[in-house]
Amino acid sequence: MQPETMMNTSASTRMILFLLFGLFTGGLFSCAKESSLVQPDVKSGSLARFVVHQGYLYSLNHHEVITFAVQADGVPLLVDRLPLDYGLETIIVYEGLVYVGARTGLYILDIAQPGKPVMLSRTERSQSLLGGCDPVVVRDSFAFSTVKIINTICGQTNVRSALLVYQVADPTAPEEVGQYDLDEPNGLGYKGDVLFVCDEGSDRVVLLDIADPRFVKLLDIEVPIEDPIDLIIHGERMVVATRTAFQFYDIQDIQDIRPLGTISK
């Protein structure tokens, strides 16, 4: 089949999917993904406390990961509770492993048996970096996590906030390879070699060069926005959630990041 023919086929498939979506949703979906009708494209911000992966819902209680098997009718069945330390904040799945950001550090869980997560490692932070928030993103064999200063959490007072970088090539033995001070960082995400971090303390999204994750460099580019909490990078677009709104950006050219629409309430 010629490439051009393939594209046409794909385009007409998309059109049919689009029409079907329109029928089911009253036209709310303006574009359908190639995958299938029942599997829409879902991207979550880094502050998520729930995640669904291959039919299992992993959710955070303050001190444990609770796993549910999602049945065909969508009803979740509680199948496991994995106790960890108090202060679990965020959860993501990356290449078959679960990363949990906690007030005390980073957990990596194995879900080879998806209904029975097993702790592979627990990497504690130094006393000066105990504290809240703790979203994590992973790219290849490096994990990036922010720690946000909150005056007092469980008797521990942060003295500073930072971006932490871990080498996680061996998930049973992560190694912290970098610490970079930020004002009050929050959610984060990346596009290629550029890491975008919400910095609530300075009302901006900061950009960092992570081409070499062992030597992260702060870029001389920032996106001013009040109280950024979390963000999602989606292709050439970034959406930033704030305390009172969200804002879209065109990030095709990081030298020329343009605000698109915001929600008007």
Partner: protein, 165 residues
């Protein structure tokens, strides 16, 4: 298990009267009232989920704002899904999973403007017993008063809780 509920608070603090924070409750029957409401302002915005051209934003304690973002230059507020005492949610295959005080609820969001509660698992989660991102005196949570949907500044009388220092 109960110990962890209070691990961030002290309840043996001597009585205190003065400015601090107190819980905002709804009764347990009201806490279960989940459903669509007209779009409204975000009060305490949190994380977001993008599903195709729909954006879902958490509003702590209140629910989820849903917007049509098929044109990112002109997002359109569609609806607000009221889920009292919510702190987390995710989406998968036309279903929305959220915490609703101590319960896990599953919503069918096939018709976004008329979501349906499909199931409820009771007493799965432990509620947060102290004001998040706050340091100081607060009125202890009294679980007999219902579900905590937020915290507010108040002049406290005989408060007995404070965050650990």
């Amino acid at each position: 298990m109960l110990g962890s509920l209070f691990s961030c608070t002290k309840t043996d603090f001597s009585f205190y009267s003065g400015p601090g924070q107190r819980p905002v409750y709804v009764d347990l029957a009201s806490a279960r009232m989940i459903g669509n409401e007209p779009p409204r302002p975000v009060i305490r915005g949190g994380t977001i989920v993008l599903q195709d051209s729909l954006l879902f934003q958490l509003d702590y304690g209140q629910g989820i704002h849903v917007s049509d973002v098929s044109d990112p230059a002109n997002p359109l507020a569609l609806t607000f899904i009221h889920i009292p005492a919510i702190t987390a949610f995710t989406l998968d295959g036309g279903f929305l999973y959220a915490d609703n005080w101590r319960d896990l609820v599953t919503l069918d969001i096939t018709d976004l403007l008329q979501v349906v509660v499909l199931s409820r698992q009771e007493n799965v989660f432990e509620p947060l017993m102290f004001p998040p991102q706050y340091s100081g005196i607060f009125e202890c949570v009294d679980l007999s008063k219902g579900a905590v949907v937020g915290w507010e500044d108040a002049d406290l009388i005989d408060a007995r809780c404070q965050t650990d220092q």
